[in-house]
Amino acid sequence: MNRLLPLNISQLHLQIDQRQLLNCINLRIVSNGICLIMGHNGAGKSLLLRCMHGLLKPNSGTVSWNHSGADIIETRQQQAMVFQKPLMLNRSVAGNIHYVLKLRNLPLSLCEHYLKSANLESKGEQAARSLSGGEQQRLAIARAIATEPAVLFLDEPTANLDPQATRQIESQVLNAMHQSIKVIMVTHDIAQAKRLADEIVFMQTGSVTEHTDAKQFFTQPHSDAARDYLSAYLH
């Protein structure tokens, strides 16, 4: 069982500059596996991800991991997040991994393992910023996993990547899941969602309209909104 689960979100509201961006969100995530957050642009997917990770503080409501009111920093240290446009530290590929290993007091010898997992073992000495987009994303995911998190957040990790690069990312994500890391990921790619998802959270204009098992979501979505969303992508 995952040490941070279950995740309980209740009555969560988020306002920025007088605009209601997340509206009374109630969500309970219990089981391991890959959870995908889907919905139109501006539905609040990335904001919800940031609230879960503690990067944004909701105006009201609670986010609680494993029933505890534990310190936000302590919880966040057991999670990792890969941003849509991943930050490459201005040092070598290996240096990027070393950075987080040092931060978490882990042995630097682990670096090689993580480079291999990202298929970058031959590029350890290269400057991280000289990598291609797909390689950068792979390094970012490997770097996140190197912190040994219980939960991994991914914000559209395959946006703007070609199919082959996308597949490599997906296999990295599946590997993470097999190591009992709970993956919570935002994506727009329905084919990808079908390949990866165990459960789906569907959002519309700041609210969660549906949270179901993946199979059910793709065959019999509850809400009209989700049905429209799926059909728009199918045609």
Binding site: I73, R76, Q79, P86, L89, N90, R91, L103, T147
Partner: protein, 230 residues
């Protein structure tokens, strides 16, 4: 009027047979300005980074103030340091006036705003990209400063060089707090001022070229280090 051949012959004479007095002056210039730049960087780099990363009331005022201090006239700064270090001043007991230490203090104060202000601008721009990822990793505030400084090391080198250039080329502050004392506080710029006042313009200009050669060597050294680590 003096001719260029006259300056050139003075210049080659200075380079060919560098007399001990000249070497002493060159050495002191380097010692004072490099130490001052180093001190200003030790303080100014983290200070500039903190200023970029932290939000606090009155931040804009501090920023404008530091930016303004970049334009501090060396003579004015020299006078302020003089009044502090004068035997009748508040820090007179230190007995530092008319010593290399006083010159280092003055030049550090002169370089500090430059390093701080330019670092702040640079780090503020890159902090936009680093803030969330570092927050996600739970990096401590001091860790954030170190990370940003290291990741911007090449631009910061250029900033340090700008600081060094300011220090090595100024005369107003060091002549007041150093006194241009022969064999004790005479540096390149005060020697140039002295030769100008003696009307020996050719020698003054030749010394000026030597100063430029030194600045060139320092810049080349930094640039080659940069190439090696890039």
């Amino acid at each position: 009027m003096i001719s260029f051949s006259e300056i050139f012959s003075e210049f080659t004479a200075l380079l060919a047979g560098p007399d001990p007095d000249l070497l002493e002056i060159v050495f002191l210039s380097m010692q004072v300005s490099l130490t001052a730049t180093l001190l200003a960087c030790l303080i100014g780099l983290p200070l500039g980074a903190l200023l970029a990363m932290r939000d606090f009331p009155g931040k804009w005022l501090v920023t404008v103030l530091v930016n303004t201090l970049m334009g501090m006239p060396p003579v004015v700064l020299g006078l302020i340091v003089y009044l502090m270090l004068s035997r009748s001043g508040p820090m007179g007991f230190l007995q530092l006036l008319y010593t290399p230490a006083a010159m280092i203090i003055a030049q550090t104060a002169l370089v500090l705003p430059i390093v701080t202000a330019l670092t702040r601008q640079l780090i503020e721009d890159s902090w936009k990209d680093y803030r969330e990822p570092l927050q996600s990793l739970c990096v401590s505030p001091w860790g954030c400063v170190q990370t940003l400084l290291w990741d911007n090391r090449f631009s910061l080198m250029t900033i340090s060089l700008a600081g060094f250039s300011r220090a090595i080329s100024e005369v107003g502050a060091v002549i007041i707090v150093g006194g241009n004392i022969d064999h004790l506080t005479r540096v390149m710029t005060t020697a140039i001022a002295l030769e100008t006042s003696k009307g020996d313009l050719a020698l003054a200009l030749a010394l000026g070229f030597i100063l430029l050669v030194i600045a060139l060597l320092v810049n080349a050294t930094v640039y080659s280090t940069r190439m090696r680590f890039a």
